[in-house]
Amino acid sequence: MLASVALLITEQRGQQLDFLRATLSFFIEPLKHLVDMPSVLIEQTNNTVNSYAALKKDNERLREDQLIHQTRLLKLEALEKENIRLRALLENSFKLGEQVLIAELLSIKMAPYEHILVVNKGTRFGVHPQQPVLDANGVVGQVFRALPLSSEIMLITDPNHAIPVQVNRNGLLTIAVGSGQLNRLILPFLPSNADIRPGDLLITSGLGGTFPQGYPVAVVDEFTSQPNKAFASITATPSAKLDRNRELMIVWSKSTPVPLIAKPPSPETAGTEDAHK
């Protein structure tokens, strides 16, 4: 009894117990995979029974997508160069280049009321707490706790999570707080006369240092302004598909050490835009 109280206090104070948690998690790990098994099996059978025609159609569509994206990328590169030049003129630093690791979700619910996911990559792959996590459409959340074989990811919609954002249209800075619902973020700190409209895209502002700048976070919902109140009550819908994705990307920004460049067991790792200085 005393031991558990002592444990509670030490854990609250700092990180001395990470080792204990890591050791214990080795025993727990098989359970997580066991619980995850049904969904994996369903997915696999789905993949197996997919017809040839459907696969071919899929392939064609993906190829077209690829082409479109490639052309867009060409333009993007030119823009990026231009951006760097302009930044240099302004004597402004610009962070470029992130490394990503693709992690797969385990379908586990750790606790109700908390939007915390578990993915199958942990400290063995160099994952560390407070790393940003993205999907193809936007910011998903950040690594909350990294265990050796898995890590826990807190979604941006968790009630305890807040993410610094800016309005893409005019650069207005604010903070988006999780609401506890998977399809909603709250913007509680905007005055009612702020220049923000329904449909505005919110991107990460890069303040706070956790999230790299410029990734889409959410789109502002319809709202009616209430001039009699000091703060507007504005909500936004996350652009990432928080409830549908199985693959997530864990991101290393350049400011943090990148430990896994030459590691063989991670073929998914791809330095995205590392070519630039």
Binding site: M1, V5, L8, L17, R21, K32, L34, I108, P112
Partner: protein, 164 residues
């Protein structure tokens, strides 16, 4: 008999592992808030049935595992479980003779106590608003007790755990 004991203990661990799986199973959201504390219920059952085999230490250890499993502050489930199991061990002789309804009442108190402890610890950690639904697992756990009880008795009797 040591070998027999070992076999019986394996069964206990297995049942707790199943309970842990149930604990983190991905229920659809509206069901997740009703998900009762399976691990504690299984522990209570075993501690009442085999008080000489499942003690406070085991409760504490499995509590620690549950902490890691559910990503809580290390030690809070350990504390709650060991306290509840302590009470169960003190009362196990009486509890075994209770009719089911009375047992349910006791289980309700146990689950409530554990949830209350978790609530207190959570509050100490950082005061947060909690929905009233936080207390649902206590009720659903109580309702699930007959199922757990019957299943575990089936597990126990399928091949006697303690033959002496």
């Amino acid at each position: 008999m040591p070998i027999n004991n070992y076999y019986g203990f394996g069964r206990i661990i297995l049942s707790i592992a199943v309970a842990m799986c149930l604990r983190i199973a991905p229920w659809p959201f509206d069901l997740a808030i009703y998900n009762p504390d399976w691990v504690l219920m299984v522990l209570i059952y075993w501690s009442i049935t085999f008080p000489e085999r499942v003690g406070i230490f085991h409760a504490w250890t499995f509590g620690l595992f549950t902490d890691v499993l559910t990503g809580r502050l290390l030690g809070q489930y350990a504390l709650a479980y060991s306290l509840v199991i302590y009470i169960c061990l003190k009362l196990h002789k009486r509890l075994r003779r209770f009719p089911l309804l009375q047992q349910e009442l006791f289980i309700f108190c146990c689950l409530l106590l554990s949830q209350l402890l978790l609530f207190l610890i959570k509050n100490l950690q950082h005061p947060a608003q909690l929905h009233a639904t936080f207390w649902w697992p206590v009720l659903t756990g109580t309702l699930c007790w007959p199922v757990v009880h019957t299943l575990l008795r089936f597990v126990r009797l399928s091949k006697p755990v303690n033959k002496d």
